[in-house]
């Protein structure tokens, strides 16, 4: 299938005040979100945060308790899944085990009563696009996990959907194939220009693949931003610690006279920082070894390119990434430095304070 044949059917996707309750459980709370045509947005969060619920609402598997879903200008949240024109890849791939890969990919077309010639052509093109032409005669259980994943993607794309939904499509793959598939899906998505939603709990996957990332927690959207911004300016302490690996060090304390007073240590903060109870965060790669904050080294883990140093600073456990193995003194102490311009400051409710 040449890319052009499949492409240009993407639409902008808009969610307005979308809520979903299961009995007494509020799975999703008043979500507002817009996705532009051809954009890939990642829904990121721990399990049970509402990201998969949102995806299934878009697909039409669940019915929203409140709110609306728009594809372009058309409101679609009352439509049956078959009328929504979405393609979806599931975590388990959800291929039909008794059908060959060919019949799996052909299934959505058969339901649409596609003429036989066209069906054959489109199935073969989709298979070629994903490099599984040789495996079409086999059943899902007779091909590798990576090929199953490709078949699931081919099945989702063969009907030329307006929106592509990906529910943890990579989590069942081996680590090596996963990196490869990640790039593959992104490339395909960009070439097809198809509006896509990727659900994942893996922050590195979200940052690497998505144009924008929506971080969820307990049914609430915490932050919706480009990868860089999410990383540079997390909206609250949850996002700060969920995005980035190893996670940001977040230390509660208070600010007095331009100095942060934590649990057993003090460090300068930006002058614009208001006084009062705050939390201060610093990413392990931003903290530096060699400074006047005295810390006790607990563990040094060589990661290859750098060293992950876990140490005790006052009452806090702090992780620092260091280019070289830090030289501790006889009592196992090192000095740390937190560059003022790299500090993140959060108020006592955990929300970011602009500094």
């Amino acid at each position: 299938m040449t890319v052009a044949q499949l492409a240009h059917r993407g639409v902008p996707l808009r969610l307005e005040g979308l809520s979903k309750r299961f009995g007494s459980v509020q799975a999703l709370r008043a979500l507002d979100l817009e996705i532009e045509t051809g954009e890939l947005v990642a829904f990121l969060g721990p399990s049970g945060c509402g990201k998969t619920t949102t995806l299934l609402l878009i697909a039409g598997i669940y019915r929203a308790t409140e709110g609306a879903i728009f594809f372009g200008d058309a409101r679609i949240d009352a439509l049956h899944p078959r009328q929504r024109d979405v393609g979806m890849v599931f975590q388990s791939y959800a291929l039909y085990p008794h059908l060959s890969l060919y019949e799996n990919i052909a299934f959505p077309l058969r339901l649409k009563r596609t003429p036989r010639d066209e069906l054959k052509r489109r199935v073969e093109q989709a298979a070629e696009l994903l490099g599984i032409s040789e495996q079409l005669g086999r059943r899902p259980s007779q091909v590798s996990g990576g090929q199953q994943q490709r078949a699931a993607l081919a099945r989702a794309l063969v009907k030329e959907p307006r929106v592509l939904l990906l529910d943890e499509p990579l989590s069942n793959l081996d680590a090596q194939i996963r990196l490869h598939a990640r790039g593959e899906i992104r490339r395909l998505q960009q070439e097809l220009g198809i509006t896509s939603v990727l659900v994942t709990h893996d922050q590195s996957e979200a940052l690497a693949m998505a144009d924008r990332v929506a971080v969820f927690k307990e049914g609430v959207l915490l932050q919706y931003a480009r990868s860089e911004e999410l990383y540079e300016r997390p909206a609250d302490t949850f996002v700060a610690q969920f995005v980035g690996h190893p996670p940001m060090n977040v230390m509660p304390g208070r600010v007095e006279n331009g100095t942060f007073i934590g649990d057993g240590f003090g460090a300068p903060v930006p002058p614009s920082c208001p006084a009062g109870d705050v939390s201060v965060g610093i990413r392990p790669e931003d903290a530096q070894v060699g400074g006047d904050l005295e810390a006790q080294v607990l563990v040094i883990e060589p990661l290859g390119r750098e060293f992950l140093v876990t140490c005790r600073l006052g009452g806090e456990t702090v992780q620092v990434l260091s280019r070289s193995r830090p030289e501790a003194d006889a009592t196992g102490r090192i000095g740390l430095h937190f560059p003022v311009e790299r500090l993140h400051v959060f108020d006592d409710a955990g929300r970011r304070i602009a500094t």
Partner: protein, 274 residues
């Protein structure tokens, strides 16, 4: 395979315990092809005299081929009806949320525990009222009703093993519930369907009380009635002929069992392979 050290001993014990049954089958075979037997030892000449019922009517009884067709229709009808209805019921109970689902599951189980015989009179009245007394259809309906609970419970286990994500995928692909049921769910629980069909067929094939109660006229006789008529009644029982009819009655059941036994085995593993 597990093979204990003293397996010849165990095998011997099993053979010993099975002896009465083996002797029974031996008597059927030997007795049906001999003029006279003492136990399982033939004393007369070998003959096919006992098999005359195949081409001659016995007394005023219906021809055996009519009886065979009737029994096949009864067993086949029961198997088909039980599979058709219990597969749909089991799918609904396994997959759909509707009011009274839990109650229904419980009731189905209670029905299964009910001895069919205790409802014999009630069934009789229902059939008479419906004008289905003395018809094969009537017996098929009653038998199917008694076998249904087991079918529903078994098939529910099979349907429970199917992945939800697969059904969601099918919905997104544009399938309706019916499409999912017929094109995805049913083929995937085929072993369960065959198991229930085989089991129902065999039970209906061997059933005596229901046909005996609900069928009067010879043209709708089934095998168990035919066999019973050879034992009791006014004339002396012809044991050679009895053995031949018994053997003949057994054959289709053996064939069905051999064809269906591997599915019957999956019945007890609950269809977890899905």
């Amino acid at each position: 395979m597990l093979r204990p050290k003293n397996w010849p001993l165990w095998l011997g014990l099993i053979a010993l315990l099975s002896l009465p049954i083996i002797a029974g089958y031996a008597w059927l075979v030997v007795g049906s092809f001999n003029e006279r037997v003492h136990g399982v030892v033939p004393v007369g000449d070998w003959s096919i005299e006992n098999w005359r019922f195949l081409w001659e009517r016995v007394g005023r009884r219906p021809p055996v081929w009519t009886v065979l067709v009737n029994t096949l229709m009864l067993a086949g009808g029961v198997a088909a009806l039980v599979v058709a209805v219990s597969s749909m019921a089991a799918y609904a109970i396994s997959r759909l949320h509707f009011p009274g689902r839990g109650v229904m599951l419980g009731l189905v189980l209670v029905l299964h525990a009910f001895p069919a015989v205790s409802l014999l009179i009630a069934s009789f009245y229902v059939l008479v009222r419906l004008g289905l007394f003395d018809t094969l259809l009537g017996v098929i309906l009653v038998m199917s009703a008694f076998l249904m609970p087991l079918g529903v419970w078994l098939l529910k286990g099979f349907f429970d093993g199917l992945s939800w994500e697969m059904e969601m995928a099918a919905l997104v692909d544009g399938a309706s519930r019916w499409t999912i049921f017929f094109r995805l769910a049913l083929p995937l629980v085929a072993p369960g369907l065959f198991a229930v069909a085989t089991f129902s067929f065999l039970v209906a094939w061997g059933e005596f009380i229901l046909p005996y109660t609900f069928i009067v006229s010879g043209r709708t006789w089934t095998f168990s009635i035919y066999l019973q008529s050879l034992i009791g009644d006014t004339e002396m029982a012809d044991y050679g002929r009895l053995a031949a009819v018994g053997l003949f009655y057994m054959l289709p059941a053996v064939v069905v069992f051999l064809l269906g036994q591997r599915y019957l085995l999956t019945m007890y593993s609950g269809g977890s392979k899905g």
